[in-house]
Amino acid sequence: MSWIVRMIVVLPALAALAGLLARRQRLLAAGIAIGMSAYVAVLAFIQWVAPARTADIESIGRLSTGALQVPLHLLSDRLSGLVALAVAVVVLAIQVFTAWYLRDDPRYGQFAATVSLFATGMLLLVQASDLVLILVGWEIMGWCSWLLIGHDSQRPEARRAAYKAFIVTRVADIGMVVGLVALAVRAGSTDLITVLTASGHDTALTVGLVGVIIGVAGKSGLIPFHDWLPDAMEGPTPASALIHAATMVAAGSYVIARLFSLYASHDGARTLLAVLASATMVYAALLAFAQTDLKRMLAYSTLSQIAIMLAALAAAPPDIGFAPAIGHLVAHAFFKALLFLGAGWLSVLAGATALAALRGRLHGTGALRWSIGLGLAALAGVPPLIGFFTKDSVIETSIEGATGGGGARAWLVVVALFVTVVLTATYCARAWLLLDTPLAAAEPQSGGSPNAATGSDVPEAVVVAEEDLAVVTAADSADDAEVERVHAHGHAPITLSAALAVATLAALTVFGTLLLFSLTGALKPGIVSALLSLLLVVGAAYAVWTLSDRGRHDVADRVPSHVRDRAVRGFGADTAYVGVGRAVTAVARLVVALDRDVVDAYPRATVVAARGLGRVGERSHRGVPSLSLLALLAGVVVIAVLGVTAWR
């Protein structure tokens, strides 16, 4: 059994290596990538059916690190089985989709190999029973995200976005590294079980748990590290799907779930997590509503959804534990991958990802329309899709946490969750109405609109929309190179296999709930909260429906334009990052100046002093040659006298 766990980690790495070597042969590269991820999916399924329930699977052997124990074990249990299965399935779907989506990309081979390596990182993290292995997987994902986001490196925006993503997450990883070190020190071992059962050392525990939260905030995009994720849309759409769905951003929730028993006993750390997650959940949902680009809207919705998982971990009572959060992680993996692949599909049909350019383009696209519709409905939490059950389980758990002694921390989460339910339904309804209402219906401006009565409102809205379009095509669009290529010479129609990949994800969005029964506690919807959130979803959707005049207008245009513009740009978070970067660069320049003018001054001064002394000495010699001659003669005489005396 344990070999299956090892293979789950090792095979994608081998696929990455082989794919890199075979990058020139397109078919071979695709075959390796897809074949290996299919095999891994099968292995992950076996593990899901019958997890080994052990945490002592040897990986590369124990390290000789003196007093510190580094056993580097892998584990296999229900939790890892479920998450690994979700990861493997999503990766497989993405690999199949990529083979079609990037068929004209000259660097497809490298891309597919990087995706495989990315999967290694995530699966290693999932199967790891050792803090060091968790960190290894964590950082491998960070590195691969840099490669994937910067895949179209001929475009400056992609280079910048990749750099930003890696640096922001790496800065947060300062916390992760320190936190994991502190936890390891506390246990004297990096083994997960030992770390979880160790006792004492409250300072180390606090530092460890808070440090891990900071690291998680970076990768999962909690405020204030959130701004890298929307920019990461510069990567090709399959890369976005991968980063957003089952890997990287979700990894933080998994790590905290693994450490849950430590968090459960530490209120301070959980309060920090609750505050960060609640703020991010609401804020990102608000920004998602305002976005002018489909992919950026999905990115903000990811931030919001990941925060829901983390909030569940922050509010859950210890007896329920991490299961509801993991349930939502799996659900999100399915529907977000579906949405991103759908968005990629739509973008090559329409040649754009800007919402203004995509208006009505979904209408009459058959399977694609269904897929995106299901994805958005699951995201909004419409029953009986998977998103409904898992989100409601999270709400119910948080309410239990709040009533069961969680106090203000859990109530904060509960309130934020209900607000987010409304906001999520709002932006999903908006996106659906924009994408699906045929342009013919949206075009005629006269009459029908309830606002038309005021007369001045409608033309203004239209002007705003046109301005939006101009802004969008200039700067805010997250079109990847593939979409640009569509403009140049079109794109081949979707292959059956790629369409099947999307359809599989759609099916999982509908029936995936069944998978969650394997994890005790992952599904625990409450009747009251379910009815309440259903009411909120319907109400929000109805409000959007009426306010947008049955989809004829963009409901986000009702936001005052100065607020909206700033919201589209993330309220200047990027500027703040640039400010930090400038400050560091200024310090760096200072360091270089100090290095040259202060630290190096002493050696140079020594040189000057030595030269000066040398000249002084030289001068004192040159001045009196006769004196030295005299001395020499005197010396010879003295030696001669001494010699003669001694001889005698």
Partner: protein, 537 residues
């Protein structure tokens, strides 16, 4: 026997090469390659067989001709011997650097190898000092005569002079420290000194000795305020010199600290460990920050060396066995990674004519994917990416500093851990800066997509069209330079050179995936060295 042969072989080879006045004919190439390969084979034999040689040398002073290998030095010996082969192969596969006869160049490389191997094998403190000094002159020749011929002669002389003067100052201080130590302990045998573990010396004297040794060896490492010799030396040195400097010479400093300070005057080290930790961390941050704005690629890697060695020093300051393991692993890791980076960057500089990052060039990824991929591996390792070799040393260093030996200042070291982790983020920033500029290329999209040869032509054309109307006659010179420096059309690594960098890249990955290969070798001896149980059986 094998051990003596291993030390004599490169020495004789070096003497032969330097004595032969001729140029780089087949004979010299054969001698250089044959000697280094044989030495490398002997090194493997010596290390696997744990050979030792012990004979009286200077009887009146009680100094013995005592060489031996143990877990602490084994990896360094292998690294030195194999890297010298790589350096020689790399040199023979390309153009010799201008500035003197090729045989002198090869002879100097062999002489450096002799000195380094003897340093790592010496079991006697005085012998260690002598071997330490052997390296100096050949390295000076490599920098002074065979240095970068694009820079004015004064800069070469300055860089070489700095190298020699800093190092000589360091080794003089070290000699004084050694003499104090030997005088008070009554033996110069390193095994015996390690077994005594500082017994019989008063604590204040131990601190004084440790101070002198640390200052002397710290210059070689280099520690923070005495690091200013390294960047100019690296910038000017030829590729072979840079590789040996980074991968072998710097290691002699840290190895010396382990052998002479950690083992023999532990209480002195404990007393000075706050200073050592602070200097290490300042080095990490200082080097990392300098790399963020440095424009010369070779200088940048030199500063990154300062940062990486900072982690090694921090690990040593912790005083625990985990720390010692971290330092030894970090040492080897930096040796492999820095060698890889300097090989690649040296190739690039040879073709670009300079290593200035502010010149816009097409990305290596498009023009020369092989160099691109190994550069990327090197940079990933330099930023401490887990799964590559540098990560383990740095992570363990942070762990060791968080839980140091009992007599260390815990709070201070924990602050150092946080700052060291900040250094990891800086490493990411500068590594990716280089990757962005060199690997993916900041050149415009059009330039990057055009095949390599036509890019050069295009750049040349652009240079001549912009230059011709205004400058007239000198425009041709401008155009010619345009091809050399701004074109960015880099010929990809081929043949032996490709084999060298590929091997190093594979080593970075394999040692990163299986760090136990290195940790297992040094593990038992590291524990014995820390506890003072003596190292050799």
């Amino acid at each position: 026997m094998a051990l003596t042969l291993m030390l004599l072989l490169p020495l004789l080879g070096a003497v032969a090469l330097i004595a032969i006045p001729g140029d780089e004919s087949r004979v010299e190439r054969g001698i250089a390659l044959g000697t280094t390969v044989l030495t490398a084979l002997l090194a493997v034999v010596v290390v696997t067989g744990r050979h030792e040689i012990d004979a009286p040398w200077i009887r009146s002073l009680g100094i013995r001709w005592h060489f031996g290998v143990d877990g602490i030095s084994a990896a360094l010996v292998i690294l030195t011997a194999l890297l010298t082969v790589a350096v020689v192969v790399h040199t023979l596969a390309g153009r010799f650097p201008a500035g003197g006869s090729g045989s002198t160049f090869l002879g100097c490389i062999l002489l450096v190898e002799t000195g380094a191997l003897a340093t790592f094998l010496a079991r006697d403190a005085i012998l260690f000092f002598i071997a330490f000094e052997v390296v100096l002159v050949p390295m000076w020749v490599l920098i002074r005569s065979f240095g970068d011929d694009h820079v004015p002669d004064e800069r070469r002389s300055d860089a070489a002079g700095r190298f020699v003067l800093f190092t000589v100052l360091g080794s003089t201080l070290m000699l004084v420290g050694i003499l104090f130590l030997v005088h008070h302990q009554g033996t110069s045998d390193l095994t015996e000194l390690a077994r005594l573990h500082g017994d019989g010396i008063s604590r204040s004297l131990e601190t004084a000795i440790a101070g002198m040794l640390l200052l002397g060896l710290g210059i070689k490492v280099p520690l923070w305020p005495v690091h200013t010799w390294l960047p100019p030396a690296h910038t000017v040195a030829p590729t072979a010199g840079s590789v040996l400097l980074a991968a072998v010479l710097l290691k002699m400093g840290t190895y010396g600290i382990v052998r002479l300070v950690v083992a023999t005057v532990p209480n002195g080290l404990a007393a000075l460990s706050p200073v050592l930790a602070i200097l290490g961390v300042v080095g990490i941050l200082w080097g990392g920050l300098a790399c963020l704005v440095e424009r010369d690629l070779k200088r940048l890697i030199a500063y990154s060396s300062v940062a990486h060695m900072g982690f090694v020093v921090l690990a040593l300051a912790s005083g625990s066995d985990t720390g010692l393991q971290a330092a030894l692993l970090g040492n080897i890791a930096h040796g492999v990674v820095a060698a890889l980076l300097f090989f690649v960057v040296g190739d690039l500089k040879e073709q670009w004519g300079s290593a200035d990052l502010s010149t816009v060039r097409a990305g290596l990824r498009d023009t020369s994917p092989r160099l691109g991929v190994v550069l990327l591996v090197g940079l990933a390792a330099a930023l401490g990416l887990p799964g590559l070799v540098s990560f383990w040393g740095e992570f363990l260093a942070l762990y060791a500093a968080w839980s140091p030996a009992p007599d260390r200042p815990v709070a201070l070291l924990r602050v150092c851990v946080v700052l060291g982790a900040v250094g990891l983020a800086l490493a990411a920033a500068y590594s990716l800066r280089v990757a962005r500029l060199v690997w993916s290329g900041e050149a415009s999209g059009a330039a990057a997509e055009v095949p390599a040869s036509s890019t050069a032509a295009g750049e040349a054309g652009r240079a001549s069209t912009t230059g011709a109307p205004t400058v007239g006659a000198p425009a041709e010179g401008v155009a010619a330079e345009g091809v050399a420096s701004a074109g960015g059309a880099v010929v990809d690594a081929r043949g032996a050179r490709w084999a060298v960098v590929l091997t190093l890249a594979v080593a970075v990955v394999v040692l990163g995936v299986l760090p136990q290969l290195l940790l297992g070798v040094s593990g038992p001896d590291a524990v014995r060295l820390i506890t003072g149980a003596g190292v050799l059986p």
